[in-house]
Subunit: 214 residues, 2 copies
DNA sequence: GTTTGTGAACCGATTCACAGCA
DNA sequence: TGCTGTGAATCGGTTCACAAAC
């Protein structure tokens, strides 16, 4: 049985652990200590142990963790045991980039649909997927069984698209649209704001430029 | 004089306030209370006041904040007063999408250069910018005066590109490449991992599917 | 009366440090 | 001996609540 709730910071580290454990497995390492995982993940060893202990007791004292077994346990905690089907809403440059991004499949996500409102794009094939009209979003979601969406539409269209996704039964939405959206019930939304990230970096870069007070 | 350091959570909210204040200014609102800003930003009013008070005393008791003035103060705190020049490293689908993303310029970032290693892409023009060869990165950064970079290369190439950016004098790097990178001195790095975001959403969506314990 | 600015209380995550076990 | 799992201590951010200012 996986946990019903986890502290957000812990949850955000779990994908990192999955990646690190897969990497260790790929290198043929069969066992790993919290210290080893910690250095590859860039966190403290105690943090790794605390995080993992919330999922269950999967380590062996004096030995460490079984790499493959732990990877599977963490994946299960994230409900990643089977691949998620993803619909990309908005087939502009960003939407197309996401649809063609090979790194998704390797980590459990398959883009099964792509929609847009522009008749010039509808019907073309991107990354092996035929672009459907956004008016058909509900049907597309139903026929493909998509449970997850990537939102890559203009800001003015974002709320309508999000509501349509929710109505179609999509439960997870990753939005690249800046701005506040009303989140429909039953939907989990995360927002990636590229400009905001650059603005945050602007501060850190300036802070670093002056190592200490003169 | 702006602050030398800010709590990371505060720093990550400042771009949100900038966006909200610009939006209020666009609507013609000249004054805003912390409550007003808070509801548009999706945080608590006390949080807004605490965050803003770290930058200085810019509000008027009984009245609120001057929208335009505050926006400029927050921008200054983030060192956004003048536009940053951005080099995009990697002209694959994602790099091209970023280079063409109009939302960047509106928020203080101008893409001035784009590089790639593929001879088929080098020389083409994307979003008004000619693609240069990545071997010329140093020269490109120097001639354009870029201080900020977006990293959109394959994982295997990321460390080399990051080191080259650092050597060229770039201070801020936003990476879309999953995986741990050694961060050169004097560089601020933030990573956006799209697959990890979807994995986190996978958990929240599953948690929401079961509203409460039976 | 209204709203800011902020010390104090609170809350939750990180880190410590060690008991427990292979 | 070596490393996990975890209570206890610590740290830092959020929220509260109110005095100060308009």
């Amino acid at each position: 049985m996986t946990e019903r709730s986890l502290p957000p910071p812990t949850l955000e580290r779990l994908p990192v652990y999955v990646r690190v454990l897969d990497e260790l497995a790929r290198r043929g390492e069969t066992t790993a200590s919290s210290t080893r995982v910690a250095e590859l993940a860039g966190v403290a060893p105690a943090q790794v142990r605390k995080d993992l202990s919330r999922l269950g007791t999967y380590g062996t004292r004096g030995v460490g963790y079984d790499v493959r077994g732990l990877a599977e346990h963490v994946r299960r905690a994230l409900h990643l045991s089977d691949a998620h089907r993803v619909v990309v809403v908005g087939a502009g440059h960003l939407g197309q980039a996401v649809a063609r991004y090979a790194g998704l499949r390797a980590r459990g996500f398959e883009v099964v649909a792509l929609t847009d409102v522009d008749p010039a794009v509808v019907g073309t094939v991107v990354g092996g997927v035929r672009v459907a009209h956004e008016d058909d979003l509900g049907e597309v979601v139903r026929s493909t069984g998509a449970t997850t969406a990537v939102l890559a539409v203009p800001p003015a269209a974002a709320q309508v698209s999000l509501d349509a996704l929710a109505a179609a039964g999509v439960r997870s939405v990753l939005s690249f649209v800046p701005g506040r959206l009303a989140v429909p019930d039953g939907v989990a939304l995360r927002v990636v704001d590229v400009a905001a990230e650059l603005q945050i970096l602007s501060f850190y870069a300036a802070a670093q430029a002056r190592p200490s007070t003169p």
